[in-house]
Symmetry: C2
Subunit: 403 residues, 2 copies
């Protein structure tokens, strides 16, 4: 399994990024991903009750064995737009399907950007032919598509990985966008994953959920679950034929790796953030308990501001885990910050606070390890979670963003 | 039922605020509240698994029918200090009990301030005699006690209310501290409530829980549940004899009113906040569903930054309610911001955004009303919740606070 130095599309996939004029900045705002043959597809969507029209439409179209394309616009989320918004989302898929010569049901749709404003449909409909003309298979085309998905992102997010299986070398590729309104289940994030491996509908769905649960659902910038989150996986079977169980395991692992690279890129691009924080909670009886503790640490404004200030304020970290509704006993808890033990068996450990503070101030990466080693709710399950710090710049950006 | 212009103690209660030297600033840091006779007492405490030693000790002492005093120090929370911390908390209560001539079990203890540092016991033990000498019944004594509870608070928080009952006029008084690490269940907040009404242990407990559920558990500054939160109610029965059911209802109402004044004072004093936000969620089938929706709105960093910036960004508000795990239908949801309808039946309502933005920028008070008028999970229950906005100043304060 090898990461590629430039991100390239799997066999049989094309992509394009173009400008249809939704963004007043004139930046690219229309991305297309197209398979030249029917693909197996699965999707994972926001669980927000206030979800965007494209989520409602795309949800009806996966799982699928006849998926052909994904159309994505940035600059407008088509969320909170009522029944007219749903009709607009359907019209986007119909227009693309007609021009590709496939069924409407073979097209999924995603939109990201401002909430509650009707889509400028003439711009989108006029833009689709140009998007189709711009399709191509090169790494440049893939990069342009990922770029056209961006909103407040400061860099495009895409990655690819090759996997040797019995029938040849298959590729898993993915692009995503997201930089704020990021929370588990999921974020204002969209991702399209593609592979030329052949997956059954059940394999497609289980591999996607396995990967998303451990990556996109383990990141948080600000704990605000968006209305638009969507991750789609299209597997067109262009390479290698049907997979052995061992080869499927390899492909599933590659899908998780690609998801993880994209998810952590979102955290690296978190709005206004100075630190990239990895949180490991280990030694719990269930993955869910470890997850809740990690999530409370990740979402605590006091933990995030402490790290922004380079302050090894372990009390905020331990106390955040304490309100995760997990019945652990502090007498079995220890905490390391960047490898330095600061708390053991429920009491503080003397440490060089000035040195640790300096280390926090001069390194972007922070590692928090909360370990439980016995007592109620303890066991062998662990979770890794990623988040960013909370800076004055985050507040400035989100105070000044105009609706 | 009348609010008093200055906050005064109920009959039979004394208070003092003094300086024992925990705070390097030299500000008052030791508060005593003493009843001259045995009082019925109840308590509500943080549910954080990482709770302070004083919480562990005080929890064992309520409910009580022989409560006599509460000792509070600020500047050090005696949290995450292990078994030695518990011994220190017990020693504080023992020292006060001996000098008051009552049983140790009659004294509750609270501490607030930095986490994970052993209490400077010699300072506290030396300070107790002076605290006792300073006890008095005047409004000045009550104010000094409330002042000695403060940490990052910018003003002392105390209030009193008189209630006419069959046997005379009883008084309900309360003091609290808190300005950050504020979340439901509860906050880095301590409160002592006192009344000279006669309450049975069951009445004392139910009245306190009723009041706290609707006030201290309906505020959030930053969603971080503290290790130290404690609300105590002492009822010494000095006035009026046993209460009729109707009179108990009046006293319970007064307790809720006093709790509400103190809880909203915490939000008015929220660290770095520019806005005081009242959130009403109405029309739900259960109070719990309404509560979860209000809490998600209150805790959303994106809602709080939008209001800090004077931005009527209703999409953030509605989408925060959307991830509260309540199965409502947006087609029945409306939202008003400061009386202006911005969202109705699941779609945006045109409004004068510039005028509303100007109003938000020039008024400290903000009122968000999310109303559900039908569909799944709808009904007649409602919840009022209070929070503050999230400003760059909040981040600055909490980044620079040193452990």
């Amino acid at each position: 399994m090898n990461a590629l130095s430039t991100s390239q599309l799997p066999v049989g996939f094309q992509a394009s990024g173009s400008t249809c004029g939704i963004k007043v900045s004139g930046k690219p705002d229309l991305a297309l991903f197209v398979s030249d043959r029917d693909a197996t597809a699965a999707g994972v969507f926001t669980t927000n009750k206030v979800c965007g029209a494209p989520v409602i439409v795309s949800k009806q179209r996966v799982p699928s064995t006849v998926a052909r394309a994904v159309i994505i616009n940035s600059g407008n989320s088509n969320a909170a737009t009522g029944e007219p918004g749903i009709q607009d989302a359907k019209r986007m898929t119909l227009a693309l399907a007609e021009q590709l010569g496939c069924d409407t049901k073979s097209v999924c749709v995603c939109s990201t950007g401002v909430i509650g404003v009707p889509l400028p449909m003439p711009l989108i409909l006029n833009g689709i032919p140009h998007g189709i003309q711009s399709l191509g298979t090169s790494d440049k085309h893939f990069l342009e598509a990922a770029t056209a998905m961006m909103t407040t992102d400061t860099f495009p997010k895409l990655t690819s990985m090759d996997v040797a299986v019995a029938g040849g070398t298959v590729r898993v590729s993915g692009a995503c966008k997201g930089a704020a309104m990021i929370a588990p289940n999921m974020a204002t994030m969209l991702s399209v994953m593609m592979t030329d491996a052949q997956l059954t509908p059940a394999q497609c769905d289980s591999a996607l959920r396995f990967g998303v649960d451990r990556t996109f659902n383990c990141i948080s910038v600000d704990g605000h679950m968006s209305t638009s989150d969507t991750v789609l996986l299209l597997a067109n079977g262009a390479v290698g034929g049907s997979l052995t169980d061992a080869d499927f395991a390899k492909v599933r692992e590659a899908i998780q790796q690609v998801c993880q690279k994209l998810a952590t890129d979102i955290i690296r691009d978190a709005e206004g953030a100075d630190h990239f924080i990895t949180i490991d909670v280990t030694g719990m009886e269930t993955r869910e308990a470890a997850y809740r503790m990690a999530q409370e640490i990740a979402d605590s404004a006091l933990v995030k501001t402490a790290i922004a200030g380079g302050d090894p304020n372990w009390g905020r970290i331990v106390s955040a885990a304490g309100y995760a509704h997990v019945d652990f006993d502090t007498a079995f808890v220890s905490l390391h910050i960047n490898g330095t033990e600061v708390y053991r068996a429920g009491i503080p450990v003397p440490f060089d606070a000035a040195a640790l503070s300096k280390q926090l101030k001069t390194n972007r990466d922070v590692h928090l390890q909360l370990a439980v080693s016995g007592g109620p709710c303890s066991g062998n399950e662990s979770v890794r979670f990623w988040t960013s710090d909370l800076t004055q710049e985050y507040v400035r950006l989100n105070s000044e963003y105009t609706t």
